[in-house]
Amino acid sequence: MVRIFKLWLAVMAACLITTLSAHAELTIEITQGVDQPTPVAIVPFKWEGGYALSEDVAKVVNDDLSRTGLFKMVKRENMLSFPSSQAQMYFRDWRVSATDYVLIGRIKPGKGDQVVVEFELYDILKEQRLLAEQVSAGSANLRDISHYIADMVYEKLTGLRGAFSTRIVYVTAKQLGNKRYRYKLQLADSDGARPRTILESREPIMSPAWSKDGKKLAYVSFETSRPSIYVQDLATGQRQRVQSFKGLNGAPSWSPDGQKLAIVLSKDGNPEVYVLDLQRRQLTRVTHHYGIDTEPSWSPDGQSLIFTSDRGGQPQIYRVHLASREITRLTFEGRYNARGRLTQDGRFLAMVHQSGGTFHIAVQDLRKDRVEILTETSLDESPTIAPNGSIILYATQEGTRGVLGGVSLDGRVKFRLPASEGDVREPAWSPYLQ
């Protein structure tokens, strides 16, 4: 029953961090939730050790679940008691305070700096225990344990796999002075906590993309004063320039098998989509058109790419089947649809959609061909979808600053991740890790 938590990040943190300067810490503000959220209480976990713990596990779990907008979290001051074991659970007390589910837990010191966390989830109406599990890890990794517990609770209550244990990367830009900027590629937990700088440059960094195993990033960096595509191994920090032709080298997207990158090159005069086989160093041109072809992204089955093209006069999203090279136009509503991303089931297309003079995040149901605009702010861009398809993160403007926003795929839940400094942009959500 004891699960050993694989903490790849602990290793990562040790070997890859080159710079640890002031981080743009992201904090979450929920701006809109569902109408009838389920009431859930996350009781403070009992700590049985002699030293102070670095994290309040119950609080991290509470905040994760709160951010989904699906739950109404019971405040600690409104809890009649803080049970930490089954014997202390009085269902009637929770029923009178209209709580549907209660999570309790206890933390014990283990060997060395290890801790053992036990947690139990209860259905108050049925008076049933839904979960009882034990997790152990280094005491420095309590946040990882917390996200894991949140994933378990979320899955139990929604039937959907949780994505709290995933990571995000994003780019920050700060103006230092006259035409001088500092760009950073940052890696953080899915809730924005524990940001780390994995690349810093005075020249622009853009278009970060995760490999499907979550071990590598591809991105564009102008560090040579021209755009080139790099691949960086997260565990070792090793990076490699994989493409630097004359002109554009941009918009990398990993194939689902991790062997290839779809990229954009303009070496033949105008932007075209190519597929680069990373092992064989073989480059295959996919599009042939004098217009702009860019922003490729793989379909989850690896059979096709979606991309943005102005071949019809205005930017719209197309799909190219890789075997037959057959091209199909996917978007028809509005004059500007770009930078599409597909959900894992391939059914929904998240994209940047212009309506009126402003840019919003929209989602198109490819089965029903219905488009729904999800955001009201302007200048919304760079949608990235959580691996469980629940939330789209995107970049938007708040006042004069770039911030990240989140919206559920059905548009019911919205939140903000404002950063404490600089412009935040181009979020990219990792796949499931481990």
Partner: protein
């Protein structure tokens, strides 16, 4: 050797042009609005190695002086990659200098405003830089003298989100190399 000196001198002369440029940029935006909050940002920051190697030759001197008065930032209408008409004469001036100095190279950095997606804007920025490159070529500059690089919306000249700032950001910046 001589051409190299000319190039250096040109760069020097241009840095003067850059410094003077901030007073003229306001009038080059399509909206015609003068100095917005960040207009001074248009002054160049690259420090150019000061080299006193110009030996007062009159023709070169004249060319350089003419060059120093030319603007180096060229503006575009929204979603367009045609240089605004008021920049044409100055571009022709650069073309004249480059075609008579075939060893001098120039770099064209294409930029867009913040509207639209980032990678799509990379493509638009490249279109603008290429439009300027074609204009220079038509006016006698060899393709090998020109490099076009797009920065998309990644390096705005000014930070604002209003129409004036966006107009100042839709630009191609011309700079002499070495």
């Amino acid at each position: 050797m001589r051409a190299f000196n000319v190039a250096k001198a040109a760069a020097l002369a241009l840095s003067v042009a850059f410094a003077a440029g901030c007073s003229t940029t306001g009038t080059t935006t399509d909206t015609g609005s003068a100095a917005t909050d960040g207009a001074t940002d248009n002054a160049a920051t690259q420090s150019v190695g000061v080299d006193s190697g110009v030996s007062g030759k009159s023709l070169e001197q004249q060319q350089l002086e003419a060059l120093a008065n030319l603007r180096t930032v060229f503006y575009f209408d929204f979603d367009k990659s045609t240089v605004q008409a008021d920049g044409m004469a100055d571009l022709e001036g650069h073309a004249r200098y480059l075609s008579s100095n075939p060893n001098v190279n120039v770099r064209l950095d294409g930029h867009t405003d913040e509207r639209g997606t980032r990678e799509y804007n990379m493509a638009l920025g490249e279109r603008r830089a290429q439009a300027v490159a074609r204009f220079l070529q038509v006016n006698g500059v060899a393709p090998a003298q020109i490099e076009a690089v797009s920065y998309g919306e990644e390096k705005p000249a000014v930070m604002g989100h209003n129409a004036e700032s966006q107009a100042e950001n839709r630009r191609v910046e011309l700079s002499y190399v070495r």
